[in-house]
Amino acid sequence: MPTPHPPDAELRTLIDRIAARDTTAMKALYDRVARKLYGLALRVLGNAQWAEDALQDAMLQVWRTAGDYRASLSPPMAWLSLIARSRALDQLRRRRAEREHLRDDIDDARAVELVSDEAGPLDSSLASQQAKALHQCLMRLEARQRELINLAYLRELSHSELAQQLKMPLGTVKSLVRRGMEQLRICMARFA
């Protein structure tokens, strides 16, 4: 059985203290994870101000639901990231609805770039083992595949939305994603 790595134990302790209404633990957790969660929100939303709102919503949800954390059986960073993604997607849906009639394509183009410059090594010791494996396997994919998979998941984009935003034929998008996911499965099985 693998021993949990120290950052997990530290984050778990902080979440437990937050469940006991300890506001200093809240600040400590924020200092540890805010850059990570903000980075995620920014990739989902492509807009700094919306990402700040999403981070704020996520931290308040952590404050309110820390008592439920243990029952989720998740590594702490996985639980925190899932909360941040959900709150960021809430923002995304709200903003999309707001600008539905504006057809603000410039915004979308800039947002896509923000995701695609992601490539370097994983800059966090906090990530769960599963996420570290995923990251190593993603690095073995073509950049286009990595980008498609990231965008599909982070922004809830469909095949045709991906094709439109990345200016690729629909068939190419479908086969790139399918083959990328197949490679991920094989690669990640080696880490299990």
Binding site: R21, T23, M26, K27, Y30, A34, R35, K36, Y38, G39, L40, L42, R43, A48, E52, L55, Q56, M59, L60, W63, R64, M77, A78, S81, L82, A84, R85, E118, G120, L122, D123, S124, L126, A127, S128, Q130, A131, K132, A133, L134, H135, L138, I149, N150, A152, Y153, L154, E156, L157, S158, H159, V177, R178, M181, E182, L184, R185, M188
Partner: protein
Amino acid sequence: MDLHRHPQLLDQLAAAHALGLLRGGARRRFEALAQQHAAVRAAALDWQHRVAGLNEVQPETDVPAAVWTRIDNMLSAERDQHAMTAARSAPAARGGWWNSLGWWRGAAGAGAVATAAVLVTTLALNQRMDTQIDDLRASLQKQPQVGYVAVLSDEQSRASMLITVDPRRGQLVLQRVGDYREAADKSLQLWALPADGAPRSLGVLTRNGQAKLPLDANALQAVPALAISLEPLGGVPSAGGPTGPVLFKGALIHKTT
């Protein structure tokens, strides 16, 4: 087609589902199959677990300092709630605290506010309480899951119990804000007082500061008020109604969001 007998196709569909790429009918059909067949469900969950790592591998980014300040302001509303509890136990603070909480109770509190105004001892204290109330109000407005609020008071109109209801989670949260403690062989029991009909038990309180009771979503329909009675240890059956004295009572306010 028996999807679970075609492992490669199953894997492709489960992967697409986890990424959110199955839409409309395709998504519904896949989810129905997952509910019926354990193998399909397992493949779907495996893939959800794998791709959830995408949330953790995004590059870290510096956060503007103002974000923590905003979060801290909202958390301080919680701290102030505790501070008010402490303030209440100090005699000088009693009037000011109650005065500033008057808004909670709407019309029911109007008389108490007039009385309490006389009891306010220092302006500074009053101002501090106003700030706390503003924060508390801001905090409540930021929490859409609060569907109902009630402050139950004793015969002297001193607030003793703060109740908030989260209808989505089916949860009722009680917080003791007064210094009343029941004897070791007694329990406090919470009752819904319907406009027409007998009181219905909502549960028995624990002895510590905050208690959470599960709540049926419809239990507070057409209930204008709540009450707490003093009962034998463990409480009494709902059907018989309260057997002991009613200690605290207050209007149940439906919070519109």
